[in-house]
């Protein structure tokens, strides 16, 4: 089977072109690093099926990052390369093109973002460019699909003209002469997007813009999340599902081991979806009724932030602060992802260059960045006691994030390299890719979380019946009661936190805690252990020794913070 490789710089619309070619849903993003696990798909090519690979964005075949190494390795297995080139930054993009031509692999160039050339004042003489490169050059607009058909028709015309291997200086000199012959730049005025772009990487206006964007994001996330809960999911569960479960409960006699596992305990003769804790009550209500709405709203907003190109600007803005935590500005992106789910967040720490940074970032995320599932439960349970208590939980976690990062920066050996990133221009987010990505992430949550949530609730009920939790509770009572001021039964929730944080927080609900105890419980639960899924990726990314260190830091930090909160609240 013919293997076609898509190669090009980051942010040139490679992934958008990939989904146009294959129809396979790939994640398209405005910041480099997301396609580090390359995507594969298939397309029809002259009556045959060809394999299409979306290689990670790369500036050069002399790799300077892990993503570029992967791109280089993929190149060895390809038959034809579609070199996706940003028509706006022809000079820089041609560096990779020349390297590809030197390798003697058949190349066809897709000159993408062609629609942008007009208003950015870039004129390119296509015939001359084709002649000088010696390969087909097709103009495309991947987001709208313009030129894609012509590109497909030209794939078989990909050629490998004889370009002798050159040195770096020779390549740049070569590019200089090509540019002189094919490109003409007209003077033009700055657009509003460029003015906004400049303003958002300035300390003062950028800071104000960042605060406004983060506040608006938070508001929109809550608005959509609460809206879904109040107008869709609560009514569904209360008016449709509750009567069915009550009927089933009566059929099962209203009590007994099987009843307790499947339906849970009735609270005052009624179903309480949070407290009953059966498979068909809390087991469904926690993922669908409480967490899903916030997963949808969070990933919707995150997708927009990603595809407009705002996140790299936030990275620039946060760089000075992040340096104090032993990271550079780019590390804000995995941390933000962690507010959705810690698993992709820890995978995303791969975009950081050094082991030290990856360790610090992963440790900080797993301790002090609560995932959307946990946050949804915090909103639901702690929020019921008053907004002030929610603020204490968030404020505490933020302070822990800063202090812990500061300490890790001072104690972890190694160096942290400096920020160096391209800032893509602001773009209106393509709704197709925003919604596609939202669907993927939501589906990913459901597929991953529901079996674990149901499993966790099953295990909890069985362990309850066997009396295992009583034993653990008695054993850890000194710490839990003495240090944290929580009833000893709360330890079961802390243990279950290893399976699912959302379920675990739900277990605090029937304990009749004071608001202060609930705050302590939520914070300790957020910090103490990563959930099992996070633990597994941390192990894969960091190795045994480092994850042991991270867990040690976690336990100490959680107990110290919980103890302090218990003292001052």
């Amino acid at each position: 089977m013919t293997k076609i490789l898509l190669m090009g710089n980051p942010n040139v619309g490679k992934s958008a072109l990939f989904s146009r070619l294959t129809g396979v849903k790939a994640i398209v993003s405005n910041y480099p690093g997301t396609t580090i696990n390359f995507t594969k798909g298939y397309m029809k090519l002259g009556g045959e099926t060809a394999e299409v690979i979306d290689a990670p964005g790369t500036y050069t075949l002399e790799p300077t990052s892990e993503a570029e190494e992967i791109a280089l390795r993929l190149l060895d297995s390809g038959d034809i390369v579609i070199n996706v080139v940003n028509a706006i930054n022809l000079e820089r993009n041609l560096y990779l093109t020349l390297q590809l031509l030197e390798r003697g692999i058949p190349v066809v160039v897709a000159l993408n973002l062609w629609d942008d050339t007009k208003h950015r004042g870039v004129d390119i003489n296509l015939d001359k460019l084709r002649e000088l490169l010696g390969v087909p050059v097709i103009t495309t607009v991947a987001v709208t699909g313009e030129g894609v058909k012509e590109l497909v028709e030209n794939i078989h015309r990909a050629t490998s003209p004889h370009h002798p291997p050159g040195t770096r200086d020779q390549r740049w000199a070569n590019i200089g002469s090509i540019i002189e012959q094919v490109q003409h730049i007209r003077h033009r005025h700055h657009t509003w997007r460029e003015r906004l772009a400049d303003a958002s990487v300035n300390s003062v206006s950028g800071g104000i813009i960042a605060l406004a964007i983060l506040a608006a994001s938070f508001f929109v996330i809550r608005f959509i999340g609460e809206g879904l809960i109040n107008y869709v999911l609560d009514p569904l569960f209360n008016t449709l599902w509750a009567p069915v479960i009550l009927k089933l409960s009566q059929l099962m006699g209203g009590s007994g081991i099987l009843h307790d596992i499947i339906i849970g305990k009735l609270i005052g003769g009624e179903i309480d979806f949070v407290q009953s804790f059966g498979l068909l009550t809390s087991g469904l209500f926690v993922p669908f009724g409480m967490v899903l709405p916030y997963i949808i709203s969070f990933y919707f907003v995150l997708g927009i932030l990603e595809d407009t190109g705002y996140l790299p600007r936030l990275a620039v803005l946060m760089d000075t602060i992040m340096h104090r935590l032993g990271l550079h500005g780019y590390a804000i992106i995995p941390n933000l992802l962690g507010l959705g789910c810690n698993v992709p967040a820890i995978l995303a720490t791969r975009i950081l260059e050094s082991k030290r940074e990856r360790f610090i970032a992963a440790t900080l995320i797993s301790i002090a960045v609560p995932c959307a599932a946990l946050q949804a439960m915090i909103f639901g349970l702690v929020g019921a006691r008053g907004v002030g208590y929610v603020a204490i939980v968030y404020g505490t976690l933020f302070v822990v994030w800063i202090i812990l990062g500061f300490i890790l920066n001072r104690t972890v050996k190694g160096f942290s390299p400096e920020l160096l990133i391209e800032i893509p221009p602001y773009r209106l987010p393509p709704w197709r890719t925003v919604l596609q990505k939202l669907w993927f992430r939501t589906y990913g949550f459901l597929a991953e979380a529901i079996p674990i949530i149901l499993g966790a609730i099953l295990v909890i009920n069985v362990l309850y019946i066997l009396g295992v939790f009583d034993a653990i509770a008695n054993f850890t009572a000194p710490v839990v009661t003495g240090l944290l001021g929580l009833p000893k039964e709360a330890v079961t929730a802390l243990v279950i936190g290893f399976l699912r944080k959302d379920v675990a927080l739900g277990m605090l609900a029937p304990l009749a805690l004071t608001s202060e105890q609930l705050v302590v419980g939520s914070v300790v639960l957020a910090m103490l252990f990563p959930c099992i899924a996070t633990f597994v990726v941390m192990f894969r990314e960091l190795g045994w020794l480092n994850i042991l260190k991270a867990v040690g830091v976690m336990i100490v930090a959680a107990l110290v913070t919980g103890g302090i909160l218990n003292l001052i609240l």
Binding site: Y59, I88, W172, V316, E418, L420, P425
Partner: protein, 92 residues
Amino acid sequence: MHGFRHRPGSRFKPEDNKITLAQLKNGQSGTVVEIQGGRRMVDRLNALSIIPGKKITKTSAMLMRGPVTIEVDRAEVAIGFGMASRVVVKPD
């Protein structure tokens, strides 16, 4: 042969009208003259076409030794302050 070599972190002293990217004013343009860094830094900058002879314009700088943003070939690139202090430019 290896007698004259800037250690990483060594600050460039202005001479012959040359300053570092960190010292360039916002909105000011210049030409990259030299990159005083190790191979890795030169490689990373080369990938973003920040090489000697290249025209650049500084678009902004964050306060408190934050990153410097420049425009190079109609692309915007953010560079950490320390790295920007080792890129020597000749202002226009």
